[in-house]
């Protein structure tokens, strides 16, 4: 027993002593330090977190920076230090991670996702010299001189483009319909729907008639974002009623739509991240690739752009403005997914979509953001 004890005591001591390497000569301190705390799910979620990570990679490339402690060894210089962290769960650890980054002297700290709303507001108060950015969340009463910026996306503009794409694809079939499935019935999700309706009606006049663009919401509560079964049954009805393409803004429920699309042999459009690419590059599940073929494209919220552009301002020497910032088509904050797998399908339409994008950016087309606006928009087309 005693011997065991002594042994147990000695091993770590020896191990520590044996490994006391001299730290390499300290690298020159970075001029800017930018930190990100990911949403639950962490790196590799093929969604917001990965997109945010890509933003870090482009920052490193363009501004001679490196991502600290990253297994992928992204290193282009020492001017900008980038670091990401990942919370486990609970309200305390998000706050703690934000706080640690603040104490370590990071100049700009991102919280990815609305789950950070409370914690980032609290931490921002305690570190007035650090700037914070909340992606896709909303903190009320911010001003230009606040040290917190809420980064939002013009979802209706991205939705307009995928709607326009749907319209273009079914324009030669007068009886073909298109559909929209929303998750929880919130004003936010109606933004997606309004953009989609406007886009589809804009490019295909057959769709301007009543009842040609179907729309349904899964539910009134948060579980609607994680209810693939209901999404599947709605999608089945939509496809049976003549829809050729169905677009969803329903988070995790979207898988139900995709599976139904494959079963029906029709097309679906994903949301937020490049969901088609996610399915096509899933090597673990052979069935995933089969489903991926039926995902036409996805409406993208470019978290990477939000991270990149906000950080770029900081590195450029500008004082970051607090308050609210919306990323739109104009700054590539939203868009549609074009990847190796769907470029053949979309090839014929990209020119037209670019033209529409230019019109939206120039203000020639004003994309509606609610139901009433969408109805007026469609009326105005006649």
């Amino acid at each position: 027993m005693k011997k065991l004890l002594i042994l147990a005591l000695l091993i770590p001591v020896i191990a520590f002593m044996g490994c006391q390497k001299k730290e390499a000569a300290k690298a020159p301190a970075a001029k800017f330090k930018i930190g990100i705390v990911f949403d639950v799910g962490g790196k590799g979620d093929k969604s917001f977190n990965d997109s945010a990570y890509n933003g870090l990679v482009s920052l490193a490339k363009d501004f001679k920076g490196y991502i600290k402690d990253d297994p992928a060894n992204v290193n282009f210089g020492t001017d900008v230090e980038l670091k990401y962290l990942e919370p486990k769960q609970g309200g305390q650890d998000r706050e703690q991670l934000l706080r640690v980054l603040s104490e370590e002297g990071y100049n700009l700290i991102f919280g990815v996702g609305f789950m950070f709303t409370d914690s980032i507001a609290k931490v921002a108060k305690d570190f007035p010299k650090t700037h914070y950015a909340l992606i896709d969340g909303y903190v009320p009463d911010l001003k230009d001189d606040s040290n917190l910026t809420c980064l939002a996306f013009a979802e209706q503009e991205g939705s307009f483009l995928v709607g326009a794409l749907s319209g273009l694809m079914v324009a030669d079939k007068p009886k073909a319909k298109v559909g929209f499935i929303g998750g929880m019935d919130l004003p936010l999700i109606h933004k997606f729907q309004a953009g989609f309706i406007a886009g589809a009606a804009y490019t295909d006049k057959n769709l301007r008639a009543k009842g040609m663009i179907l729309g349904q919401y899964i539910g009134k509560d948060g579980s609607a974002f994680n209810d693939p079964k209901t999404a599947a049954s709605i999608a089945t009805t939509m496809y049976k009623n003549g829809s050729e393409i169905v677009y969803h803004a329903a988070g995790g429920s979207g898988t139900g739509l995709f599976e139904t699309a494959k079963a029906a042999g029709k097309l679906a459009i994903g949301v937020d991240s490049d969901q088609g690419l996610g399915y096509m590059t899933n090597d673990k599940d052979p069935a995933a690739k089969e489903i991926g073929k039926f995902i036409l494209t996805s409406m993208l919220k470019r978290v990477d752009q939000a991270v990149y552009l906000t950080s770029k301002d900081l590195i450029g020497g500008a004082t970051l403005k607090g308050g609210y910032r919306t990323f739109s088509l104009a700054d590539n904050g939203v868009g549609y997914a074009l990847n190796d797998f769907n470029k053949d399908k979309l090839g014929a339409y990209t020119a037209k979509l670019d033209e529409l994008k230019a019109k939206i950016v120039s203000g020639e087309i004003k994309v509606p953001a609610d139901d009433a606006g969408a109805a007026d928009f469609v009326k105005g087309l006649k």
Binding site: A8, L9, Q92, L97, V100
Partner: protein, 364 residues
């Protein structure tokens, strides 16, 4: 007499050995991952003991862990395997939050009453498995695990549906309305500073610390100073002998089960009333399961659970330290903390078997 002292020595040393063994594992894994152990040790140090704020954070993190541990431990003492602490604190926290949102009371009454309602909620959630066990002999491990899933689904629905406080806000995070300021668990940090412990305001040392201390004391008092506590321990040691001795075993088990549930109801208080100020089903999960390991390591004694919950809190913080200051990947950190817990539990068990064997030898 000296023999007995030797045994207690072994018992106290056991978790320490486990801890050291787990540190070795940590070092080995860190080397495999390609990080220098010195840097890892430094990272752990920075996040745990380098500053008053960090030490205080360990204490703060230990509060819900302690409550979960003591809830499980009280059940274990009566031979009740309450795996349902998880569900009980989700539901208890919700009931407490309701009392915090809808009861118009002055602060001096509101805070104790939300504690009370949280306990009632936790006990209520334990009631059906308890009755099923006592009346029908259905094993509580199965029923409480099922009830965990039910509780999660139920609070998910309640928070999203009838008690949603989202209306008209930009946030999508499902949550209830905000609790009244009278029910808020205020921080005790200023008090600690007055006592000479320089805790910054950002650390959550709130009323839940007092709740945990009172709960720990009451459990100790009931178990070791009251007659009913003796009955509880007797039932836990051997239900058959207790029955023979005239103890009403079923009643004791029912009571212990409900008490365990009531204690579990307290676990979520810190997050709901001190940290967030509203209830969401997104509050930290998994504490109930941590509680089982904490109770095991703490040998089901209130004092032991104090130490084991602090140890768990330390491990959690150490994990964050590795994440923040080293390149050990996150998934590996989960593996490390998991392994450390496993090793501590196993060494603990091995040592108690060793002691049992020694005792048997002696008896012969």
């Amino acid at each position: 007499m000296t023999r007995v002292n030797k045994y207690t020595l072994y018992e106290t040393v056991a978790p320490l050995i486990g801890f050291l063994a787990s540190m070795i594992i940590l070092v080995v894994i860190v080397i495999i991952v390609g990080e220098s152990p010195a840097k890892a040790a430094d990272a752990v140090w920075k996040m745990t003991f380098s500053k008053t704020a960090r030490v205080a954070t360990i204490l703060s993190t230990a509060i819900p862990l302690f409550l979960a541990g003591i809830a499980v431990a009280f059940g274990f003492r009566a031979g009740v395997f309450n795996i349902g602490v998880e569900g009980q604190y989700f539901f208890g926290g919700f009931v407490g939050a309701m009392a915090g949102i809808y009861l118009p009371l002055p602060a001096w009454l509101h805070v104790p009453s939300v504690v009370f309602f949280a306990m009632i909620g936790g006990a209520l959630w334990a009631l059906i498995p308890a009755i099923l066990k006592v009346a029908r002999g259905i094993h509580e491990v199965i029923t409480t695990i099922m009830f965990n899933s039910i509780a999660l689904a139920l609070v998910n629905w309640l928070v999203n549906g009838p008690f949603s406080g989202l209306a008209g806000k930009g946030s999508l995070e499902a949550q209830t309305a905000h609790i009244r300021p009278t029910a808020a668990f205020l921080k005790l940090n200023a008090g600690f500073r007055a006592l000479g412990w320089d805790v910054p305001d950002s650390v959550y040392l709130d009323y839940s610390l007092i709740v945990a201390m009172i709960a720990g004391f009451v459990v100790w008092f009931v178990l070791f100073r009251l007659r009913v506590g003796f009955d509880v321990r007797a039932v836990g040691t051997s239900p058959d002998v207790s029955l023979y001795a005239g103890i009403r075993v079923k009643r004791i088990q029912l009571g212990a089960f409900l008490a365990s549930g009531a204690l579990a109801g307290l676990v979520g208080l810190q997050e709901v009333f001190a940290i967030r100020g509203f209830y969401t089903y997104e509050i930290a999960s998994g504490l109930g399961l941590d509680g089982i390991a904490i109770a095991l390591i703490g040998r089901n004694s209130p004092v032991g659970v104090v130490f084991s919950s602090l140890l768990f809190a330390f491990l959690k913080q150490a994990g964050y330290g590795l994440q923040v200051y080293t390149k050990v990947p996150n998934s590996v950190i989960y593996v490390i903390t998991g392994l450390m817990i496993l090793i501590i539990v196993v060494t603990n068990e091995l040592v108690s078997r060793y002691i049992r064997a020694l005792r048997k030898k002696e008896a012969v």
